[in-house]
C-alpha cells in the first residue's frame, strides 16, 4: 500500500512538474548578483540554432535633420528574423538605453524565433539611435509620445516587409522600460486598429518610471560621490584591478556571456559594489540618452543652445557633465520644463502620473490580452509595486521567486513561460 501511495505521490509530483513546464532552479537569491551576472552558462537556455537575424535601416522620420556630430545616425536600425512561410509576427521592444541588438534582445529574438514567430527587434526609445532618427520630439521618456514614435516605426517596418512575409497575427512584448512601452503601444493600437495584437506581454515592467529610476540612481549616489572624480576613480580602479587579475592569471580569457560570472566568482564582490555597478552602468546609459536628446532637441542643458558641434569636436567634457546628471535633475531641469513649455498648465505630479502604468489601469485590469511576468525581487520594484502588478494583471500575472531585474531572462523556465503565454 505504501509503495503504491509512494508511486502515486511521485507521479503526482512529476505531473505537477510537467504542468509547470520546466523546473525553475535559478542559482542566485541575491537580486543584485542576479541583475549583474544574469544566467550563467550551466543554467542558460539552449537554442537549436540562432535566429537568422538580418539588420535593416529606415531613413530618419520626416523632417528630422541629423546634426554633423551624429553623422553616423543616418538610419533607424532594427532586426528581423523571418520564418519560412506563414507565422505569427512579434515585435520586441528593448529596455532603457538598450539597442535592438543587445544581448537580452538577441535572447528574446532566439526564444520567439524558436517558438515559431517572425521576430522584429526594436531599440528602446531611450537608445541614442532611436532618439536621433525616430523620435519626433527628441525628448524620450514620455510614455504616450514614445508609443506614437514606436507605433510609427512599427508601421513603417511592416510596410517595408509585408510583401515578403506571411503573417497570421501580431504579438507584442518588451522588457523593463520596453514592457511599459508595449502596454502604451497596445492601447494606441486599440484606437488605430493597425495590428490588432492578439497578446501583449510585459516582461519585468516598472510601475512608476520615476520610482524605478530613482531606485537605480540611489544605488549609485548612496555608495559613491559622483561629484568627486577621485571617488569614481577609486571605484573604477578597484573594479579594473579585479578584471586585470583575472586577465593576467588566466591562460585564455575569452570575453563571452560568462565573463561576468567568472569575474563574480573571482572577485566575490560585496553587495554594495554590485549595487554601485548597476547604478554606474545605468548612469552611463542615461548619459548617452541625455546628451543625445539635448543635441537633437537643442535644449541647452549640456550643449550650449544653438552651438553646432562638428564630427571631430571633443565630446569628453560632455561625457563628464552628462554622467553627473541625476535622474531628478534630468526630470526637473529638462524633462518637466520641456513639456511645460508645450502645456503651461501641466503640473509636476500630473507628469509623474503619466510616466507610469497607472493611467492604463482600467485598460489592463481584466483584459486577457495583456499579460505580465516579473520576479518577486526585481530591483526596480518596491514590494507594494509587486503587489500592485499581481493585482492588476490577476490571472495574467506570473511572478518568479527570484531573478532580480531580468537576471533570469535566459533561464529555460523563464523562456518557456514567455513563449507559452504567446501560443496562438
Amino acid at each position: 500500500m505504501d509503495l503504491i501511495r509512494g508511486l502515486g505521490l511521485v507521479s503526482l509530483l512529476l505531473a505537477s512538474l510537467y504542468c509547470h513546464g520546466i523546473e525553475y532552479q535559478y542559482p542566485f537569491d541575491d537580486p543584485y548578483v542576479a541583475t549583474v551576472v544574469g544566467t550563467p552558462a550551466d543554467w542558460h537556455v539552449r537554442f537549436d540554432q540562432p535566429a537568422p537575424a538580418k539588420h535593416y535601416g529606415l531613413p530618419p522620420v520626416d523632417g528630422k535633420t541629423i546634426p554633423e556630430v551624429f553623422w553616423y545616425q543616418d538610419r533607424m536600425h532594427y532586426a528581423l528574423a523571418a520564418q519560412q512561410g506563414e507565422a505569427p509576427l512579434i515585435f520586441v521592444i528593448a529596455g532603457t538605453g538598450a539597442g535592438f541588438d543587445s544581448s537580452k534582445m538577441r535572447l528574446l529574438m532566439n526564444a520567439y524565433y524558436q517558438a515559431g514567430f517572425h521576430v522584429v527587434s526594436l531599440s528602446s526609445p531611450t537608445y541614442a539611435n532611436f532618439i536621433a532618427t525616430a523620435s519626433k520630439s527628441g525628448v524620450p521618456g514620455n510614455l504616450s509620445e514614445d508609443a506614437d514614435d514606436l507605433y510609427r516605426v512599427m508601421g513603417r517596418i511592416w510596410e517595408k516587409h509585408r510583401d515578403k512575409l506571411q503573417v497570421s497575427g501580431f504579438y507584442l512584448t518588451g522588457y523593463s522600460l520596453g514592457a511599459a512601452n508595449a502596454a502604451f503601444v497596445s492601447r494606441l493600437d486599440e484606437q488605430e486598429q493597425r495590428f490588432g495584437f492578439r497578446k501583449v506581454l510585459l516582461i519585468n515592467p516598472p510601475v512608476s518610471l520615476f520610482n524605478s529610476v530613482n531606485r537605480i540612481d540611489a544605488m549609485l549616489s548612496d555608495n559613491l560621490d559622483v561629484n568627486d572624480p577621485a571617488s569614481v576613480n577609486k571605484f573604477l580602479a578597484r573594479l579594473l584591478d579585479r578584471v586585470a587579475e583575472l586577465y593576467i592569471q588566466s591562460e585564455r580569457l575569452t570575453l563571452d556571456e560568462d565573463t561576468l560570472y567568472k569575474l563574480y566568482q573571482h572577485g566575490q564582490p560585496k553587495q554594495e559594489s554590485l549595487s554601485t555597478l548597476i547604478g554606474m552602468s545605468f548612469r552611463l546609459s542615461s548619459a548617452n540618452m541625455i546628451f543625445t536628446s539635448d543635441v537633437m532637441a537643442n535644449q541647452g542643458l549640456l550643449k550650449p543652445k544653438n552651438l553646432e558641434l562638428g564630427s571631430a569636436d571633443s565630446l569628453t567634457d560632455y561625457l563628464k557633465a552628462s554622467s553627473r546628471v541625476t535622474f531628478i535633475e534630468y526630470f526637473d531641469d529638462y524633462f518637466l520644463p520641456y513639456f511645460q513649455r508645450q502645456n503651461p498648465a501641466l503640473t509636476r505630479d500630473e507628469l509623474l502620473e503619466q510616466l507610469s502604468l497607472r493611467p492604463l489601469d482600467s485598460y489592463i485590469r481584466g483584459n486577457d490580452k495583456l499579460a505580465m511576468v516579473t520576479n518577486a525581487d526585481d530591483l526596480i520594484l518596491a514590494p507594494d509595486e509587486v503587489d500592485y502588478l499581481r493585482n492588476l494583471f490577476g490571472a495574467q500575472a506570473k511572478i518568479f521567486p527570484n531573478g532580480g531585474h531580468c537576471g533570469n531572462l535566459a533561464h529555460p523556465a523563464f523562456v518557456s513561460h514567455i513563449t507559452e503565454v504567446m501560443r496562438p
Binding site: V69, Y72, N227, N233, T292, P304, N306, S311, D317, L319
Partner: protein, 249 residues
C-alpha cells in the same frame, strides 16, 4: 605589411580624413553656457581623461576608419565569410597567427620572459610541422596557448610610457609607443622574411591583403552602431587600459 608603411596614398588619405571630417563648429547664434557645464571642473582628474593632444586629428581618423569599415572593409569581410567555409577561414587565421609567433618569441625574449619564449618556440615548431605550415593549431589543442607579445609591450615592460593616444589609419586605436612598436615589428618581420618576399615579390600583395581581411574577420567590433555618442572616449579608455594589462601580463 610593407605596403602598409610605404603605400603612397597615405598622405592623401590622411588629408581626406582630417579635412573631410573635421569641419570646425559653426555657431549660428551666441551659445549660452549651460549651468550643467559649470559642474565640470578643469582642475580635477577624471577617469576618462587621457593624454590625447592630437584629439582632433584622432577623431577625424576615427571617423575615417568607421567609414572605411562601413563602405569597404566590412563588405569585403562579409564576402570573404560567405565564400569560404569556416574551416578554411580558421586555417587562414591559424596560418597568420603562426607567423605571429616570430614576433611573440622575439618580444618575450626582450622582456626576459622565459616561459613565454619557450611557449612561442614550441608553438611555432609544433604548428609549422604537425600543423602543416601553421594551417592547423595542434598546440592549442594540447593546451599550449598563444602568448601575444609585441614590441609596444616590450617597450612598456622596460618603462616606456604609452605617449599620446594615436588613432592609426584602418588599424585603429594605438598610442605613439604602440605605433612605433608596430612599425618595428613590421620591419623585423620583413628582415626575417619568412615568406621569402625577396625572391617572390608577387606574393606580398595578396598575402598582405588576406592577412588584413583575416585580422578584421577576427575582430567582432563594429564602429559607431549608434548606441552612444561617446564611443571615441570609451574606446580610447578601454584601449589604453587593456594595454596596461597586456604589459603587466
Amino acid at each position: 605589411m610593407r605596403w602598409f608603411l610605404k603605400w603612397k596614398f597615405w598622405p592623401l588619405l590622411m588629408a581626406i580624413a582630417v579635412s573631410g571630417c573635421s569641419t570646425t563648429s559653426a555657431i549660428k547664434e551666441t551659445p549660452q553656457t549651460p549651468a550643467m557645464q559649470a559642474k565640470v571642473s578643469s582642475n580635477q582628474a577624471y577617469p576618462i581623461d587621457v593624454h590625447d593632444p592630437w584629439e582632433r586629428f584622432n577623431r577625424g581618423m576615427y571617423n575615417f576608419n568607421a567609414k572605411f569599415d562601413r563602405y569597404l572593409f566590412i563588405p569585403v569581410v562579409d564576402t570573404y565569410e560567405t565564400i569560404l567555409p569556416n574551416f578554411v577561414e580558421a586555417g587562414v587565421s591559424n596560418f597568420f597567427s603562426n607567423l605571429g609567433e616570430i614576433s611573440n618569441i622575439i618580444n618575450s625574449a626582450l622582456q626576459l620572459k622565459g616561459t613565454s619564449t619557450v611557449v612561442g618556440v614550441s608553438r611555432l615548431a609544433l604548428n609549422t610541422t604537425v600543423g602543416i605550415l601553421g594551417l592547423w593549431d595542434p598546440a592549442t589543442l594540447i593546451g599550449i596557448y598563444e602568448k601575444k607579445e609585441d614590441f609596444g609591450q616590450a617597450l612598456g615592460y622596460w618603462g616606456v610610457g604609452s605617449g599620446p593616444y594615436l588613432v592609426m589609419p584602418i588599424l585603429g586605436p594605438s598610442s605613439l609607443r604602440d605605433t612605433a612598436g608596430f612599425a618595428t615589428d613590421s620591419l623585423v618581420f620583413n628582415a626575417i622574411d619568412p615568406l621569402n618576399y625577396d625572391d617572390h615579390s608577387n606574393r606580398e600583395a595578396p598575402v598582405t591583403g588576406l592577412k588584413t581581411i583575416d585580422a578584421r574577420h577576427n575582430v567582432k567590433f563594429r564602429y559607431l552602431q549608434g548606441g552612444t555618442p561617446f564611443e571615441y572616449e570609451k574606446v580610447r579608455y578601454l584601449y589604453l587600459k587593456k594595454r596596461e594589462f597586456d604589459i603587466l601580463k
